[in-house]
């Protein structure tokens, strides 16, 4: 009896109005998101897909790792995101002599107050650009990465919360470059996505070369949304519906990554959660209130490539991943 009632409720039309308003809200919000993307792609030319990915990462409350050569527009991307989203922005340049205190902040003795006064470090901002994160020593890296995971920092025994939303974009030079400390797998796992920008196409590059200084254009931009709206968007992303059929698909993907001999080890349950979170954010950006297999397929290479290690030496997971995607049938 109870079961019957539950079933009727869950399938009845009574739920429709609520869902419908939800969609309408989403539609309004996605318009804003589109505006952000449009603005950002005026600064970072020809990289709309990457901008959308970065935004999806943010909406999924994850941190972003950009791996690319110097001068590809990593910093500009971070900067324009902070500006269009109206977030406090801080940039930390990682070097080999960077100390944890340089990131977190220090307590300094204040003579006038006869006590220690805490000077917060650059980490106390909403959007952090950790530039060239793999140039710093593991000690400095871990200071940042712990803050990313916990959303708070503990300095001299006192726990201080970080502002919300808190979003880290770390950039990394390719690991084969000289003077890098590659991030260990466990720390790579803290990043929801890893993207690389790559060279712009010919027309984008022409526009870039012809146009004004990017910094000047940046200055012209204002925020597209209020900070409160960003949190609402993040909440909406987490509420995107995931049907059983989609869960079947995600599980099939996780399963094949574990059974395939191409990788040293398969994807962890955390990676599965990350995949789902990213897919939901991507679905939201597409204006849907439910995730589709296409969403999973779009975000998957960026979500799992830094969590999988291909068995073949010097082989990157990306190529293998694409074949992996092709091999798993959508149930």
């Amino acid at each position: 009896m109870l079961l019957w009632a539950f079933r009727t409720l869950s399938t009845s039309q009574a739920w429709r109005p609520f869902v419908a308003t939800n969609i309408m809200q989403n539609n309004e919000l996605t318009k804003r998101l589109d505006a952000i993307v449009t603005h950002a792609s005026q600064v970072v030319l020809g990289k709309q897909h990457e901008i959308r990915l970065a935004l999806a990462c943010l909406l999924a409350r994850g941190h972003l790792l950009i791996e690319d050569l110097p001068g590809m527009g990593k910093t500009t991307l971070a900067h324009v995101l902070a500006q269009t989203l109206g977030l406090q922005y801080q940039r930390i340049q990682f070097t080999s002599d960077l100390l944890p205190a340089d990131i977190l902040g220090v307590s300094i003795f204040d003579k006038s107050e006869q006590g220690f006064h805490f000077h917060p470090g650059p980490i106390f901002a909403q959007l952090i650009l950790a530039d060239e994160v793999n140039r710093a020593t593991p000690k400095a890296q871990s200071a940042l990465l712990e803050a990313m995971e916990e959303g708070q920092v503990t300095i001299e025994g006192k726990t201080r919360p970080l502002p919300a939303p808190f979003f880290v974009i770390a950039t990394q030079n390719p690991t084969y470059q000289i003077g890098t400390f590659p991030l260990p797998e466990s720390q790579l796992d803290r990043f929801l996505m890893r993207i690389s920008l790559g060279y712009p196409d010919a027309s984008a590059e022409r526009a870039l070369l012809r146009g004004d200084d990017r910094r000047e254009i940046l200055k012209q931009h204002g925020a597209c949304i209020q900070p409160g709206q960003l949190i609402a968007l993040q909440q909406a992303a987490s509420k995107v519906h995931v049907a059983d059929a989609l869960l079947d698909y995600v599980q099939a993907l996780l399963d094949i990554s574990r059974r395939s001999p191409q990788f040293t080890h398969g994807l962890s349950p955390r990676a599965g959660l990350a995949l789902l979170r990213s897919a939901k954010a991507w679905a939201l950006m597409a204006g849907r209130d439910h995730a589709m297999p296409e969403d999973v397929q779009t975000v998957m290479p960026h979500v799992v490539s830094h969590r999988l290690q291909a068995v073949a030496e010097s082989s990157q997971g990306d190529q293998t991943l694409l074949t992996l995607l092709q091999d798993v049938a959508i149930p």
């Binding site: 059929a245 297999p293 296409e294 010097s314 082989s315 990157q316 091999d327």
Partner: protein
């Protein structure tokens, strides 16, 4: 990035090739012990070359070198065999050419050729050996080759290699019912399907057409089975278990042969010509291939098996050398009188070499003069052997110059062939017609089953003496040696049939060993009966018995084909029902089923949805392909998406979807 992709491909190719190379290497192994090194060594080198190519990127030879290698391969085969046709040369050529094909295996097509030839090599192994072990070994090889076939035809990097092996196992298991049906029901053609040119190289173990000192004693340690017998009547008495083989009449002082072309007959009626007594023994012999033409039977055969004839000396000669297991039913009279009154060519049985056995001739004269008739003389000679210090040994001293005299007066140590030879000599020297008979004596019952085993170690030589009025009488001079003059106690049982079981007391380990060997022999026997020798007649009997209740009493080949087709259809139907599993579908999401129907409609028009293609992507692609249907395609996709992926699927929505799919026409 590109580099890594390339390496990935290479790595994958290596695993597939390893299955193939392992399969081929194992298929070649039995040939390696059989074919000359001149052919097998280049093959192995080529195989290793390919392995190194896969492993260490050793380059494959260019076209001109391949041509050269081909010529060398043909030449090597020709040098090794002197011909390019024939069983062994053909197999040699096949193996070496297959290995050369590995040198230019670049495309999928080449892989197909190589694997196909690999299966052919597997078949050629059975030309030489059809034992149960080889059967299972080749099953392993076939599994590896099938795995290679699967690995090569799959274009996926994520499937682990052991999954291919698993798949191969599954495929072979699925093929099993069909294979069994084909095996039991495919009509057998009487006689071999093709007759292979005989090469002399196939040496068999067993008796030969001549006997010189040491011939038979070298068989005495050979425990391999000569033939197996199933008796339908009670076993003959131990002293009657003489299995007649080659009969030898010509002696050159050292070696007994049978040089005259035998007059062979297909007609025989023992009852009219000879006096057979008592009830005949009925039995079936399963003879192991021994590359010669004799068929063995108990003294004295009363019928002639098919495809064979009988010589004047009562040897059964097959029309073809026994190259594969043969099975024949026999009838023999163990009590008989043969050629009672007269024998043709009496001089044949009195022939002696001119210059040997001077002393022996004198001895024969002396002994013959003491008695009145030939029968008494036979007994005198037997007594002479029994009384004089003659020893029975497996390691007789080598005899030079004049073996007969040396044995009779000097060494006096010998094996059955020495005694048979000397005895016939003494008979002939006194004018008594006599001949040497070789064959097998004794044998043992498999206590775990109902058949009789005769081994190579049972090989024996005895004699026959012709006495007027009595006919040919079998005399076994070895049997008169007293037990204390037999050097090896184990031989007691061999030469004195009445004393079976004598010898050293076997301990429990020996007992277990014997039990195991009997069990193994029984398995072999069953294999021979049901697999190797499943011929026309046996098939006929088996099927008639199987289908007797169904009203078939004599199944002809048309009925077999009908049964075969019916059986195959049944298997196919079972497989089809299992694969389609109509009862399984009910669990599936109806929206998914409707959508699959939609995809099926499109795929009929060549618009195939990839398994990993999402519905939205597919809708976009299909709309581009069929712009005039874009609205329907999008409508169906939206309905399907709503039903399957959104939180608000409804019954009405499902019905709409189903209706839309029904009405959808490309």
């Amino acid at each position: 990035m590109n580099m890594s992709g390339f390496q990935q491909r290479v790595k994958q190719a290596k695993a597939e090739n390893l299955w193939l190379l392992a399969g081929l290497a194992l298929a070649f192994t039995p040939h390696f012990f059989r074919l000359p090194l001149l052919v097998m060594l280049p093959s192995i080198i080529l195989l290793c070359w390919r392995l190194l190519f896969e492993w260490r990127y050793l380059a494959l030879p260019p076209r001109t070198v391949r041509w050269l290698l081909t010529l060398v391969g043909i030449l090597a085969t020709w040098i090794a065999f002197g011909t390019l046709v024939g069983q062994q040369a053909g197999v040699g050529l096949l193996v070496i050419m297959l290995c050369l094909k590995l040198m230019e295996m670049n495309a999928q097509r080449d892989v197909g050729v190589v694997i196909g030839l690999g299966f052919f090599v597997v078949i050629t192994v059975f030309l030489f050996d059809q034992s149960i072990f080889m059967g299972f070994y080749m099953l392993l090889v076939v599994t590896l080759l099938v795995t290679a076939l699967i690995a090569f035809s799959r274009d996926q990097s994520v499937i682990p290699q052991w999954a291919n092996l698993q798949k191969a196992g599954a495929i072979l298991m699925q093929a099993l019912p069909l294979a069994l049906l084909l095996f039991f029901l495919f009509p057998r053609i009487p006689g071999p399907l093709w007759s292979l040119p005989a090469d002399g190289a196939g040496a068999g173990t067993g008796l030969s057409d001549s006997m010189s000192p040491g011939n038979i004693s070298q068989l005495s340690d050979n425990d391999s089975v000569a033939f197996r017998v199933q008796f339908d009547t009670p076993l003959p008495l131990p002293q009657k278990r003489y299995w007649r083989g080659p009969v030898l009449t010509q002696f050159d002082g050292r070696t007994w042969t049978n040089p005259y072309p035998q007059r062979l007959t297909t007609r025989l009626s023992i009852n009219a010509q000879n006096q057979a007594r008592g009830t005949p023994s009925l039995y079936t012999v399963t003879l192991e291939p021994h590359q010669q033409r004799w068929l063995f039977a108990l003294d004295l055969p009363a019928i002639i098996p098919p495809d064979s004839r009988l010589s004047d000396d009562y040897e059964i000669i097959a029309n073809q050398p026994v190259r594969q297991l043969v099975r024949y039913s026999m009838r023999s009279f163990t009590d008989y009188r043969l050629a009672k009154d007269d024998i043709p060519n009496i001089s044949l049985y009195l022939q002696l070499p001119e210059k040997s056995g001077i002393q022996a001739r004198q001895l024969a004269q002396q002994l013959r003069q003491k008695v009145t008739d030939n029968a008494a003389y036979v007994q005198t000679v037997l007594n002479y052997i029994a009384e004089q210090p003659f020893y029975y040994t497996r390691q007789p001293p080598l005899l030079f110059d004049d073996p007969v005299d040396a044995f009779l007066f000097d060494s006096r140590r010998g094996f059955c062939e020495h005694y048979a030879s000397a005895f016939v000599f003494l008979m002939r020297a006194a004018g008594v017609p006599a001949r040497v008979v070789t064959g097998y004596q004794g044998g043992e019952m498999n206590p775990q089953s109902d058949y009789f085993i005769v081994r190579q170690s049972d090989a024996h030589a005895w004699t026959e003496v012709w006495l007027r009025g009595e006919g040919w009488r079998r005399i076994d001079p070895t049997a008169v040696i007293p037990a204390e003059r037999i050097e090896n106690p184990q031989d007691l049982a061999r030469i004195l049939p009445e004393m079976t079981g004598a010898g050293t007391t076997p301990n429990w380990l020996k007992k277990v060993g014997r039990q195991l060997s009997f069990s193994w022999d029984r398995i072999n026997h069953t294999w021979n009966q049901w697999v190797v020798n499943y011929n026309t007649q046996r098939q006929q009997n088996f099927l008639s018995r199987m289908f007797a209740s169904a009203g078939f009493d004599n199944i002809d080949w048309q009925q077999m084909i009908s049964l075969l087709v019916a059986g195959m259809t049944l298997v196919m139907v079972v497989v089809a029902v299992y694969l389609l599993r109509p009862w399984h579908r009910r669990n599936q999401d109806p929206a998914q089923m409707a959508y699959e129907r939609f995809c099926q409609r499109l795929s009929q028009r060549g618009m195939q949805r990839q398994p990993a293609e999402g519905p939205l992507d597919f809708a976009q692609r299909a709309s581009q392909q069929y712009p005039q249907r874009a609205r329907d395609i999008n409508n169906i996709t939206v309905l399907y998406e709503r039903q399957r992926y959104t939180p608000y699927p409804t019954q009405r929505n499902l019905q709409q979807l189903q209706r839309a799919v029904r009405n959808f026409i490309v």
